[in-house]
Symmetry: C2
Subunit: 380 residues, 2 copies
C-alpha cells in the first residue's frame, strides 16, 4: 500500500540579497514524480552541522537576527557586514536550499530495481537540500539503514563518520603514524576517538575547556590537551613526542592554534634530532583546516622549519580522490557501526518553524560542542 | 706546477651562546689533505644570500651589533632577543661555519680521476662552509665552469638558478600552468623571468616598490603587480585571471601577502565559475613560502574556499625528491646559461674582514633587492 505523498513540500531557504540582508524562510516547492533511478524520502531527521550553518547563515551577523513573517511561515532577517559581502558574491540574490544530509523513509520510488528496493525503507541520504519535508534524489545517494535504526540515529551517517574515517585514511595515505584533532569533544571528535581506539591509532585531542577534556577521558581518550591551560604548549609538545603525530585536522581555522600545532610538532621532533639545521627537521608536518569555527584570520609564527604544510581539507574532494570503491568500504563500516562507533548526540530536536526562532538560533548558531540540534522537517 | 697551499685557512664563524649573545669571528682552521675523491678550492667568490644570512645572524637583532676584536681578527657581537632564543636551541654554543655556495680555483685534488680532472679549473661548489679561504670538499659537489668564467660569475651557480628552475619544475609536476613570484626583482626573480620568457611560461611578478616594477618591465616582464599600490588586489586578480596562475612562490613569508595571493587566485577563478559553492572553487591554489624576508607572523583571512595549500619549499628537499638524474639536467642548463639566464649582480665585493664591519652589515643585512654582497674570502 503506497504511502500518501502531498503535492508540495516546505523547504528551508537561505537568501542573501545584494542589499546585504540575509533572509531565512520556508519555501513551498512542488514534489516531482521520481525518475526511474530516484526515490522520494520523507525527511525526519537532519543534523545542523557547522557546514550546514555556514550555508544557512552565510556571513550574516546572527546577533542582528530579527523575527518576521507569520507563525505558519516565519521569516528571519539579519545583516551581513559590508566587509563580508565580497565573499558572498557568488550566492547573491539566489534562494538556496540547505542541509547536506539527513534520514527518513522512502515513500516513493522510480521504476529501477535499485530505487524499488528502497521503497518503505529508512535511509540516510546525502545530496544537499535535505532541510525539506520531502526530498527527491537518486537512490545511489541513499544508504538503507540496518533494520531497527530510526531516522534520528541515521541522520548523521555521512558527513561526520566519513570525515572521521577520512582523517584516518589520509593519515595512512600521506605516511603519518598518529593524528591530532582540534575541537575534539565534538560528535565528530568522539567518533574519531572511538575509531582510533578500535584501530590502535594514537590520537592527540585538543579541546578548549576542561569539561571537554573530561568528556573525552570518559570515553577512553589517552592524550587530551586543553588549549586554555597555561601549560598547553608543553602538554601538546609532550603528547606529540610520545605519539609521533605529524598530521593534524583543525576544525577551528582562525586564530593561532594551527600554527601552535606545527610549532609543537617541530619542538617534539627536535627532541630526537642530533644535528642542527636552520631549515628545521626534514619531517613533513601538516595541518589540514577542515572547519571554520573561528572565522577570523589565521595567524602563525614560522618556527617550524621548512618541512610543513597547511591547507584545506574537504570531505567531498577526499571521496573523489579515493574513488567510489574505497568510498563504499568506508560507508559499509559506517552502516555496520552506526549505533556504536558512529553514534551522534543532539541537544534538541526542532521543527523547521522552531529552527527559525531567534532564541533557538542563539543556541545552535553558536556551534558549541555539545549543543548540536537535529532538525525534523516533518515535525509540526 | 702545483699551486702553493697554506697550512691553515681563515673561516667565517657564527656562534650563538646560551647567554643570548651572537658572536661572528674569523677562525683559523687547518686545511686537510684531500682524500681521493676530494678537491681543495681556493674560494674567491661566495654570494651572501638570505639563506646564508639566516645562519650567519641567526635570530640576533643586528641593530645591536658591536665591533670588537683586532683589525686582523675582527669580532662582531649582537644580542638575540629572549623570545627568539627558543628557536636557536639546536645551535647554541656551537661555532658554525657559513656559506652555502661559492666559486674558486681547485688548487689541490685527491688521486681519483674525477678529482684530478678538476685540478687548476675554476669551479662552482655547494656544500656549506664556503665562507672560508680554502675549502676541502668532494669533487662531486663541484661543477667545473665553462672556460672564461670568473669565480664571481660562477659564485651563484647553484642556489638561485636551481631554485628558479625548481619553481618551474614544481609548477609542471603539480599540474599548474603559470606562476606567481614575490620579491620578484631579486637576482632570483630576474632569473625566473628570463627562464619563463625563454620557456613560454606566464609569470606574475609581485614587487614592493615602483622602481622594482621598472627593473622587471625593462627585462621584459609582462605581469608586474606592486604590492604598495592602492589597486594591488585588483591588479593581482586581473593578472591571475589572465595567466591562470594557481601556484605562487613567496620569499617574504611574514605578513599578509601569501594569503592575499590565495584570495586573489580564488577571486580570479570565481570570474569563470558558474555555480556557487560555499566551499569555494575546486581548483587547488598553492603558495610555497621559500624565504623569510619578513620574519614576523604570517596572517591570512580564509576567503579562498577549501582547495588551498600553504607550505614550506626548500631547494635541498626538492632536489632529493626529483633525484640525481633530473637534478643533473637542471645543473647542465645552469652551466650552459650561466652568463645569460642565470647571471647575478652584486652591489659590492667584500673581504671577510669587511663583512665583519657594522657599517657593511647595516647594508647587506637588510637583504634589500639590489643590495646583495659578494664575499671574496681571499681578498685582503
Amino acid at each position: 500500500m503506497p504511502i500518501e505523498i502531498p503535492r508540495t513540500a516546505l523547504q528551508l531557504r537561505s537568501l542573501i540579497k545584494r542589499s546585504g540582508e540575509l533572509e531565512l524562510s520556508l519555501f513551498e516547492e512542488a514534489i516531482p514524480p521520481p525518475k526511474p533511478d530516484e526515490v522520494i524520502v520523507r525527511v525526519e531527521a537532519a543534523p545542523m552541522n557547522p557546514s550546514d550553518l555556514g550555508l544557512l547563515f552565510g556571513a550574516a551577523d546572527m546577533k542582528t537576527a530579527k523575527a518576521g513573517g507569520t507563525p505558519e511561515r516565519p521569516v528571519i532577517t539579519a545583516t551581513v557586514p559590508d566587509a563580508a559581502m565580497k565573499a558572498m558574491a557568488g550566492r547573491l540574490d539566489q534562494s538556496m536550499p540547505v542541509g547536506n544530509e539527513g534520514a527518513g523513509v522512502v515513500v516513493a520510488a522510480g521504476a529501477s530495481p535499485t530505487a524499488q528496493a528502497q521503497l518503505g525503507k529508512t535511509v540516510a541520504a546525502i545530496g544537499g537540500a535535505m532541510y525539506t519535508q520531502y526530498r527527491c534524489l537518486p537512490a545511489a545517494q541513499c544508504m538503507p539503514l540496518p533494520e531497527g535504526t530510526t531516522p534520528a540515529e541515521g541522520a548523521s551517517a555521512f558527513v561526520n563518520p566519513l570525515t572521521a574515517l577520512g582523517m584516518v585514511e589520509t593519515m595512512k595515505r600521506e605516511g603519518h603514524k598518529a593524528l591530532v584533532h582540534t575541537a575534539a569533544a565534538s560528535n565528530l571528535g568522539q567518533m574519531l576517538n572511538r575509531i582510533c581506539l578500535a584501530d590502535g591509532i594514537e590520537l592527540v585531542n585538543i579541546v578548549r575547556r576542561k569539561e571537554q577534556a573530561d568528556i573525552l577521558r570518559a570515553i577512553g581518550a589517552k592524550h587530551v590537551c586543553d588549549a586554555s591551560a597555561p601549560a598547553f604548549m608543553e602538554d601538546l609538545t609532550e603528547a606529540l613526542a610520545v605519539t609521533g603525530a605529524t598530521l593534524a585536522f583543525d576544525a577551528i581555522g582562525g586564530g593561532k592554534l594551527a600554527g601552535q600545532i606545527l610549532n609543537a610538532m617541530e619542538a617534539a621532533l627536535l627532541r630526537k634530532s642530533t644535528e642542527y639545521s636552520r631549515y628545521g627537521t626534514t619531517t613533513h608536518k601538516q595541518v589540514y583546516i577542515y572547519g571554520g569555527l573561528d572565522r577570523g584570520p589565521t595567524e602563525f609564527t614560522r618556527g617550524f622549519g621548512m618541512s610543513w604544510g597547511m591547507g584545506g581539507w574537504l570531505l567531498f574532494s577526499f571521496l573523489q580522490k579515493i574513488g567510489p570503491e574505497q568510498a563504499a568500504k568506508l560507508k559499509a563500516r559506517v552502516a555496520a557501526e552506526l549505533k556504536t562507533t558512529f553514534a551522534s548526540h543532539y541537544t534538541r530536536e526542532v521543527s523547521m518553524r522552531e529552527a527559525l526562532k531567534p532564541e533557538e538560533i542563539a543556541v545552535y548558531g553558536r556551534q558549541a560542542t555539545g549543543e548540536k540540534y537535529l532538525l525534523n522537517p516533518n515535525r509540526a
